[in-house]
Each structure stands twice: as C-alpha cells, then as structure tokens.
C-alpha cells in the first residue's frame, strides 16, 4: 500500500526482499546502502541475532528522485529467511507494494528455494494479495559459486509465469541495482493504474 502525501509531495512505497535463509537478502540491502549517496538514503536498520542472522527485518529507506514533482521514496525490507520465523515474515508483508524473490542458485538449495517461494505465495494470500498481481521480480543470486544450478533449471522451477528475472552476485553487487530498478518500475507503473489493488 503506497502512501501519497500531497502536502510534502512524496510517494512512499514498500518493497520486500523474500527468500530462503542465507540467500543474500541482507547482502542486497547492504550493497545498496554502501553504493547510495548519503543524501539519498536513511540509516539501515538490521534486527539480527548475535550470529548476524536476520531476526525480524532489515530496513533501508531510499529516495529515488522526483517524478512529476513528487519525491519517490522506497522503503526496502528483508524478511528473516529461516523457516521457523514464519510469523515474522507474515507481518513484514503487510502493506507491501512490490516483492523481490532472492533465490540461492546452489543446487543444494533447490528445495529451500521452492519451499520459500511457496511460503511467499501462501503468506501473501493470507494478507489478501496475489503473487500473480503484485509487482514481482526474481533474482538468481550466487551465480559465481561452483555448485550454481544452470539458469534454465532455476527458471523452470521458480519462474513459471515468466516475471522479470536477474542473475546476481550480491556480495560483489552484480545485478543488485538491476533487480531493484526493475521492481521499482513495476511498482510505479502499478501506481499509474491507480493501483494499490
């Protein structure tokens, strides 16, 4: 649910990075944070365990520039990927405008990817959203690892509806901004339709 403020002339949108544990959601946000000019970003917040695993969420506010006199601001969130944090994941999806699914390309994470994407669909449904209608892109992360599955195989398993997809090496930043831009564009296009539905 985007928030349009006519007085301060701002559009605020919420993007959520979803995916299995250790797939690189927080790494995406960290890279974006490190590469964004100070005036365009707020503080990055990570609610993590002592082992630096996401406990509740990461949060990064970004300002993208103006569109027709309105400042566009995106609030980026990650969910905790570990299976047992499902209650928290549901909460973070509330009011979402766009979703990035970060898949872990390693063959041994195939099952975790499928489980997580099914969990995403289900949790969205519970909130009254449909993954098929929401602005949604997929990122295949960790493409540089030796055990990365072929792209075709991942695509067949995770992207049957052919949404925009990107290969990435989030730790080096490859594909991170392409993914973000793609979903931001979809969200703004949805807004044009009078969206939010």
């Amino acid at each position: 649910m985007s928030f349009i403020n006519y007085l301060s002339r701002e559009i605020n949108c919420k993007l959520v990075y979803y995916g299995p544990g250790l797939c690189g959601k927080t790494t995406n946000l960290q890279y974006i944070y490190n590469k964004t000019a100070p005036e365009a970003k707020g503080k990055m917040i990570s609610l993590a365990t002592e082992q630096e695993r996401t406990l509740f969420f990461d949060f990064l506010p970004l300002s993208l520039g103006e569109i027709r006199g309105f400042r566009t601001r995106f609030h980026l969130y990650t969910v905790p990927g570990q299976v047992f944090y499902d209650a928290s994941r549901k909460l973070i999806l509330k009011g979402v405008d766009g979703v990035i699914f970060v898949a872990d390309s390693q063959i041994e994470r195939t099952e975790a990817n499928i489980e997580s994407i099914e969990n995403l669909r289900l949790n969205l449904q519970e909130q009254g959203y449909s993954l098929d209608k929401l602005p949604y892109v997929i990122q295949y992360n960790k493409r540089d690892l030796p055990s990365a599955a072929p792209l075709e195989e991942l695509r067949g398993l995770l992207n049957p509806s052919n949404v925009p997809e990107f290969e990435a090496i989030a730790a080096k930043g490859d594909g991170v901004f392409d993914t973000l831009k793609a979903v931001a564009k979809l969200v703004l296009t949805e807004l044009r339709k009078g969206g939010g539905a």
Partner: protein, 160 residues
C-alpha cells in the same frame, strides 16, 4: 481483498499536525509522531531535529505488528497500548482506530499519567480525522493521482 492507497491531503494533514502540535505541549512531551501501520511517517512534532524519525517509524510499526501477532495468538483483538521506560527517555505507543500509531516520547518533565490522559483525547480527535480521510479516498471522485505518469517519467528516474 482491496488495499486502498493511503493518501494525505492538505486539509486533513493540517488537522493532524495541529493535534500533534497540541499534544506535545499538553503532555510536556519531547517528540510526538504518527505512523501508519506499514511504517510510513505521517506527521511529527517537537524536538525532531535530533531524532531519526524514519527509522523510529519503521521500528514502531514492526513493534506494533509483532505485538498484534502475539495478541492474535492469545485470541486478543489487539494490545492497543505499549509503554517502554528508559533511564532518561520513555516511549508511549498507542494504536489509534486500528489504523495509525501515535507515539509520544517524554522525559522526567512529564509523567505517564499525564501522557495517557492527553493521548486519550488526541486519539479520539485523530480517529475522526482519519475516518473522514478514508471516506474521501474511497469516495467517488477520488482521483488516480498518477494516471498521467508516462513510461518516460519512470525511465528518467533511473537515468542517473
């Protein structure tokens, strides 16, 4: 399964800001702010120069969401009020009309009793404003404000 956009117009914003400004004075508060349940900051007043309101807004919403999750598990409707006591600063969080969150930060110059009292009145006032705002947004003639955005506008945003 409709998720209407939150839209803020000048008329309602002015009313909300007035309520928030008044609450700062009447409750002897340091900072008062209003956040929607998704973590977007709606209005703020008081000593906001020295405080990261964006981060606080997102954490407050996360906090309310987590508390709401606990309430659900206990078959409660909601826990509408939260209070956190620190050594110097205290924070009072109130869910208003299950729609927005009213946050009051105060120190020893005020007291929990006073804050509670003033928050109660401010919540009622805020509820009225948000009800009328909601009617306006859902009512006929509510425009799709970005219908005229072009692909070019969107592309330009990313050409830097």
């Amino acid at each position: 399964m409709n998720h209407p956009q939150m839209v803020m117009y000048e008329e309602e914003f002015t009313q909300i800001q007035a309520i928030v400004d008044r609450l700062v004075k009447e409750a002897n508060a340091k900072v008062v702010f209003i956040v929607d349940k998704n973590g977007q900051l709606i209005a703020a007043s008081g000593d906001i120069e020295n405080i990261d309101t964006t981060s606080l807004a997102s954490l407050t919403a996360g906090n309310i969401a987590a508390t709401g999750g606990m309430a659900k598990l206990l078959k409660e409707n909601e826990f509408a009020t939260q209070f956190h006591e620190g050594e110097k600063a205290n924070i009072h969080i109130q869910l208003v009309g299950n729609r927005v969150i009213l946050v009051v930060i105060f120190d020893a110059r005020s007291s929990l009793g006073l804050v509670r009292l003033r928050v109660r009145k401010a919540s009622e006032d805020l509820n009225h404003v948000f009800e009328s705002l909601l009617k306006k947004v859902e009512g006929p003639g509510a425009d799709a404000p970005f219908a005229e955005i072009t692909d070019e506008d969107i592309d330009n945003l990313f050409n830097d």
